[in-house]
């Protein structure tokens, strides 16, 4: 059996032990509907509220500010649409960035079709927005600023606290898409000054299909889903108790171990980067310093992304690419475009994302295999003009 190395943690993560253990009762014997009056219902409700308290605790919020959703995408959609709804009488201008996830970009496109105006801030070659550009973009009719705390493709971390300060100064709602950041880097809602924040459980050892939206008390959030009245009548639907409990447990556990995790992952990831940069014409994308601890995103000139991913897969290594083919479309990564990568090169991307599950042996295996994969593909590439020898 080939050694399996999972280096795609930015896509999703293994369900952590604390999460699994916390979930088990709610997948087996404790299956009550939290809205039911009997004991089983009340126990489920208790578990739900305990999870809410835990989640609020980690984020530095109060329980009433936490709304459970089906994931990060739903939370992002809700936040953007809610802000538009809340602010539409004051103005119709929104500021976001060119490197947001599609869960933000697509709702924004939808709002544009409804007459809202969106300024998509550009980023520099490392993926950072300019605070000056943000300040210049703010208008009297700006009603929302939505920025991702950390980018999923290139790992760049934005100066969230400074953005929050600006937003507060101008009394503009500030939403943070924290899906990639939560659990991996310290993120304090209060000092970030955010009014809303999205997170997704499966990015930090929780189950898929559950997330949360934090909304600061005092904001009268419009409802997302109407029905039986759950989530304070704003997001109806019988709660995914097991999932929510799992998310809260994962969040708490990740937060408690963040220091040692970060230390371990940084060492592994930096060794990986160092090794891979020895491959000729390999480039690290994103901010080299202010980046997610596990993210190692590269461009390997002359080699196509999907081919790399599939060849790595045959060696048991799971990674991803932003190439057009790899993303099932004909357009390659908007993030790479935003940081100024030319079209051809943008098809040559490879993203490896480590987490605390990965080991030194994993890194060794990648360092053993990837250079030869690149060499092999370059040997038959008509767009590679360098050496065709094995590395």
């Amino acid at each position: 059996m080939k050694k399996r190395v999972y280096a795609d943690n930015a896509a999703t993560t293994r369900l952590s032990r604390p999460a699994l253990d916390a979930m088990m009762p709610y997948l087996t014997s404790e299956y009550g509907n939290p809205s039911a009056l009997h004991t089983m219902g009340r126990e489920a409700k208790l578990a739900l509220e305990r999870a809410r308290n835990q989640t609020a605790g980690v984020l530095g919020a109060v329980p009433e500010e936490i709304y459970f959703t089906s994931g990060g995408t739903e939370a992002d959609n809700w936040a953007v649409k809610a802000a538009a709804e809340l602010g539409k009488n004051k103005g119709r201008h929104i500021i976001s960035t060119q490197i947001e996830h599609h869960a933000i970009l697509n709702p924004l496109l939808s709002l544009e079709a409804q007459g809202f105006e969106v300024t998509y801030l550009g980023v520099d070659a490392q993926g950072r927005i300019s605070l000056k550009a943000l300040r210049d973009a703010i208008r009297k009719d700006t009603i929302l600023i939505s920025v991702m705390a950390a980018n999923n493709e290139i790992g760049t971390i934005q100066p969230i606290a400074k953005i929050g300060k600006l937003a507060k100064e101008h009394k503009i709602l500030f939403h943070i898409d924290a899906v990639q950041a939560i659990g991996h880097i310290p993120l304090d809602i209060q000092s970030a000054g955010s009014d809303m924040l999205s997170l997704a459980a499966h990015k930090f050892g929780g189950p898929k299909g559950v997330g949360a939206l934090y909304v600061r008390k005092g904001i009268s959030l419009p409802s997302q889903i109407q029905g039986g009245g759950q989530e304070r009548n704003l997001r109806s639907g019988t709660e995914n108790v097991a999932g929510i409990v799992g998310m809260a447990a994962a969040l708490e556990s990740m937060n408690a171990r963040m220091g040692p995790h970060m230390e371990k992952v940084l060492l592994l990831r930096n060794r990986l980067i160092e090794g891979l940069l020895r491959i000729p014409n390999a480039r690290l994308t994103g901010d080299p310093l202010n980046r997610l601890p596990g993210n190692a995103s590269f461009l390997f000139e002359g080699v196509e992304g999907e081919s790399m991913v599939m060849m790595l897969d045959l060696h048991g290594i799971c990674a991803s690419s932003g190439s057009a083919c790899a993303s099932n479309g004909h357009e390659s990564s908007h993030v790479l475009k935003a940081i100024g990568i030319p079209r051809q090169l943008s098809h040559s991307s490879l993203r490896l994302s480590l987490n605390e599950d990965n080991t030194d042996e994993d890194v060794d295996h990648i360092l053993e295999v990837l250079p030869s994969v690149v060499a092999r593909l370059r040997a038959m590439s008509p767009v590679w003009n360098g050496s065709r020898e094995n590395y």
Binding site: V303, C325, S332, R343, H347, M380
Partner: protein
């Protein structure tokens, strides 16, 4: 491990492509695709008495692009120029045992580059 959508033949041609490499003394070459779009294929021909004596290819592209390019050269090798001109993308896909729907367009790459190479050869020699 592998997507069920790729046939064994496709995987084989991806991992061990036939006729990959350049041909410095080629009689003609043909191109298709656009590297800016993420795929680019060059086919090299060695022709004798209007028969494709030798054929090689260089490709930049995804699994389907590599596999279809490899299969194209395998099908074309040894054929007369007229026979080779009749090869279609469907022949290539059939020989591979099929391709996922969203990858069918990759087979056009092979047919295009081969035709381009043959036409370039004919233009040079006639």
């Amino acid at each position: 491990m592998w997507c069920e959508t790729f046939t064994d033949t496709v995987i084989e041609h991806f991992m061990a492509p036939r006729n990959a490499g350049s041909m410095p003394d080629a009689d003609a070459e043909g191109n298709s695709g656009d590297p800016d779009c993420g795929d680019s294929l060059t086919i090299y021909l060695k022709v004798k008495d209007r028969v494709i004596e030798d054929i090689r290819f260089m490709v930049f592209g995804c699994v389907a692009a590599v596999a279809t390019s490899s299969m194209t050269t395998e099908l074309a090798k040894g054929k007369t120029l007229d026979e080779a001109l009749k090869l279609t993308d469907q022949d290539i896909v059939e020989a591979l045992g099929g391709l996922p729907e969203n990858k069918l367009h990759c087979s056009v790459l092979g047919e295009s580059a081969l035709k381009d190479a043959i036409q370039n050869y004919l233009a040079k020699t006639e």
